[in-house]
């Protein structure tokens, strides 16, 4: 066997075609899969000495180009997935960064603990959740993932090993969380979980005739009437029905409220449905793909909206998994969008301007004749992280299919949407981004925040070893001009 450590990666590292979860962005990258933190540190050291650029990749669930590094090196961290410590008395867990949310809850649910913040899929790694500072349907109540991280270990591009927390390297702690993996490799995450008294949630369904009603439904429940709130929006509806949809509000149960009792904590009770509408779910994406065109998808949205009224005002029990991980119901659903894939685009708007801005966003899509195939509506709150996407306001996530024909028009639409959102004081979310220009980022995140982040990066990573296609597109152009980089995979600009 060839001894890898002694041969240059620029020559010998295997290539891999790496895509974003939306499949509309992909690139050939050098690709390595370390099995231990020591191996990861060795790879970083050698990449530094070779002058090769590096991006980290977890489960590849970012929709755009956050874990893609054209021609450079992508380090897949999913092999670093050991659970290091779990204390069911305190609810504190320590794990390597490649452990997934799935690996985590399967270990803790039977002890009565659930991760306080989870994304809409259980596949992401802890490292990915930290680097994107992901949020859940309870962002308005408990903040983002980072708010529940107690401590992190970081390997910097210079090879230093740091432990970060609110009391130790606090500024860096708040920059690495949400830092897109651009400040170092997160190798260990210490996380506080939530004690739950039941394996189930009580879920209430409320239909909304338009966007104003949807805002109202949320606002009535925001003070204390829900632990999770998520709205589905039929983005095809126009006029009086603009922004109509269905809200799901979920509540934790107290001991005694769950007829299933402690039984509900069992992993087997935390399943996802095996078939949907009688179709084996592993094949469902093939059926969905047949419907993946504008008229049929519009009909599906319409049917979903009207049938939502049958559930209106009713409530039922649902397991944590079934409520939280809607995106995992249909395996490979991302393939349903066809060979061109799709982009997801999520806008965040402060509460003061949200109603008008969100309506304008939906209307701009209609004007371009490109309604989003799926709309998801959430409430957020500010948090202390440097590059945070959250604010005191609302977000709408939208899925747009991409084809060679529509690509340019779609990008032009997102430019108009971004301008409108920025005018409303809004922001965007890098995990869902394929389209933002550096100027958009500077205006929405704020020049001072971006400059501070760039300064921290310059200090920790003066050679700009850490890079990704997202970084090159949306943030690197905002850095003060540096001497021409000799870094590999960068010179083709």
């Amino acid at each position: 066997m060839v001894e890898f450590a002694s041969t240059p990666y620029r020559v010998r590292a295997p290539l891999r075609v790496v895509d974003g979860f939306g499949r509309s962005t992909l690139a050939a990258c050098r690709f390595l899969e370390p099995r231990s933190v020591e191996e990861l540190a060795g790879i970083m050291g050698q990449a530094q000495s070779e002058g090769i650029s590096v991006a980290f990749r977890g489960a590849g669930r970012s929709y755009g180009d956050a874990s893609i590094n054209s021609r450079g090196l992508v380090i897949d961290a999913t092999g670093l997935n050991r659970l290091l410590d779990w204390n069911p008395t305190t609810g504190v867990l320590e794990a390597e960064a490649g452990l997934t949310i799935e690996g985590l809850w399967r270990r803790t649910i039977e002890d009565g603990y659930w991760p306080t913040v989870v994304p809409g899929t259980m596949r992401p790694t802890l490292g990915g959740c930290v680097s994107m500072n992901i949020h859940g349907k309870n962002n308005f109540r408990v903040g983002p993932f980072g708010d529940h991280v107690l401590e992190l270990d970081l390997i910097t591009p210079g090879g230093d090993r740091l432990t970060l927390s609110r009391s130790q390297n606090s500024e860096l702690f708040h920059a690495v969380i949400g830092g897109l993996g651009m400040l170092g490799a997160v190798t260990r995450v210490k996380l506080k979980l939530k004690k739950v008294e039941s394996g189930n949630l009580r879920v209430e369904s409320i239909s909304a005739r338009n966007l104003d009603e949807m805002f109202d439904v949320f606002e009535q429940r925001l003070p204390d009437r829900a632990d999770y709130l998520v709205g589905w929006v039929d983005c095809f509806a126009k006029g009086k029905g603009l922004g109509r949809g269905q809200v799901h509000a979920a509540h934790y149960l107290h001991a005694g409220e769950d007829p299933m009792g402690a039984e509900g904590f069992h992993v087997e009770r935390q399943g996802l449905p095996g078939t949907i509408l009688g179709i084996p779910k592993s094949e469902l994406w093939r059926i969905m793909r047949l419907f993946s065109n504008k008229p049929l998808w519009g009909l599906i949205n319409k049917a979903k909206y009207h049938s939502s009224w049958r559930e209106h005002g009713k409530s039922y029990l649902q397991s944590h998994v079934a409520f939280a991980f809607l995106l995992d119901y249909v395996p490979n659903w991302r393939l349903a969008y066809g060979p061109g894939g799709f982009i997801q685009y999520q806008v965040f708007v402060p509460k003061e301007t949200a109603r008008e801005t969100m309506k304008d966003v939906l209307n701009l899509c209609h004007q371009a004749k490109m309604p989003s195939f799926l709309g998801v509506f959430k409430r957020h709150r500010p948090d202390p992280f440097l590059l945070t996407h959250a604010l005191d306001g609302w977000s709408m996530a939208m899925d747009f299919p991409v084809t060679p024909k529509t690509r340019n028009a779609l990008w032009a639409l997102t430019e108009r949407l971004s301008e409108r959102v920025i005018a409303g004081g809004g922001k965007f979310y890098f995990a869902k981004d394929s389209v933002l220009r550096a100027g958009d980022v500077e205006q929405s995140y704020g020049r001072d925040k971006v400059e501070r982040f760039l300064a921290i990066k310059q200090q920790l990573d003066p050679t700009n070893m850490l890079s990704s296609d997202l970084w090159q597109r949306a943030l690197a152009p905002l850095a003060k001009p540096q001497p021409p980089s000799q870094l590999f995979g960068r010179a083709a600009e």
Partner: protein
């Protein structure tokens, strides 16, 4: 869909079919990176269309150079949409000669070099959802002849490799073309006895490029009548085949 072939790398471009294809591509307006071992031959060819034919000196046996050379070419020309691997050697093997060094050189140039370049191209083309990979294999790969075991082996292997690559990448819009020439009038065949149906390198190149431009992944004998010979050769029983001298 027709293949574009607007920015093409031709490996083995200093003579024979590679040279002819590079020249014809440049004449059709493409930017062509011409890659070969002999600098003076490359410069002579590049001089015919400066700017369109760009010379890169590279020995196909030096597989470790390929990743960085491919990157250099893309820095110079932009993203490549075609790779033609035309490098090949066929040292003469005498009766009763068993020469490992000759065998090794054929495996290195005819096969390993092709794999080194095609890995780079296939990954890029899959990501770009398009591109053309053309490999010059040979009718010699249809059967193990007594004349040159290693040459037949490398060409059979290259044919199989290209087939796998086609099955792997065509679903992503990548066009993989296997060309199996018969006798072509090049330095490789000069002086050989018993040649027939000999065509010029220019003619062979023109036919091959026309097939590649169709954009349909294809395996083709050039000229096509060699398919008949191949059919017969493939189906001759071994007890007859081993008594033949060709």
């Amino acid at each position: 869909m027709k293949a574009k072939l607007s920015k093409v790398v031709v490996v083995g471009a200093s003579s024979g079919m590679g040279e002819a294809m590079a020249r014809q591509l440049a004449a059709a307006g493409a930017d062509v990176a011409i890659v070969a071992r002999r600098q003076n031959e490359l410069e002579r060819l590049a001089g015919e269309r400066p700017g369109k034919l760009r010379p890169y000196v590279h020995d196909a046996t030096n597989v470790d150079e390929v990743p960085e050379l491919f990157e250099r070419i893309e820095r110079d020309m932009g993203p490549v949409d075609g790779l033609i691997y035309a490098a090949g050697v066929m040292p003469s093997i005498q009766e009763s000669e068993y020469a490992f060094e000759k065998d090794r050189s054929m495996v290195m140039v005819n096969l390993l070099g092709a794999m080194a370049w095609m890995n780079q191209a296939a990954a890029r083309f899959e990501a770009a959802r398009g591109g053309t990979i053309l490999g010059i294999s040979s009718i010699a790969g249809e059967r193990g002849r007594r004349g040159n075991p290693a040459y037949c082996t490398t060409k059979a292997a290259l044919t199989t490799y290209l087939e796998s690559l086609r099955n792997r990448c065509s679903r992503y819009g990548v066009n993989v073309v296997t060309i199996k020439p018969g006798f072509v009038d090049t330095a490789m065949t000069r002086g050989l006895k018993g040649l027939f149906w000999l065509i010029s390198a220019e003619k062979a190149a023109k036919t091959s490029l026309a097939l590649a431009r169709k954009g349909k992944s294809v395996v083709a004998f050039v000229p096509s009548r060699w398919a008949l010979v191949a059919f017969v050769v493939r189906n001759l029983p071994s007890f007859i085949f081993r008594k033949l001298n060709f």
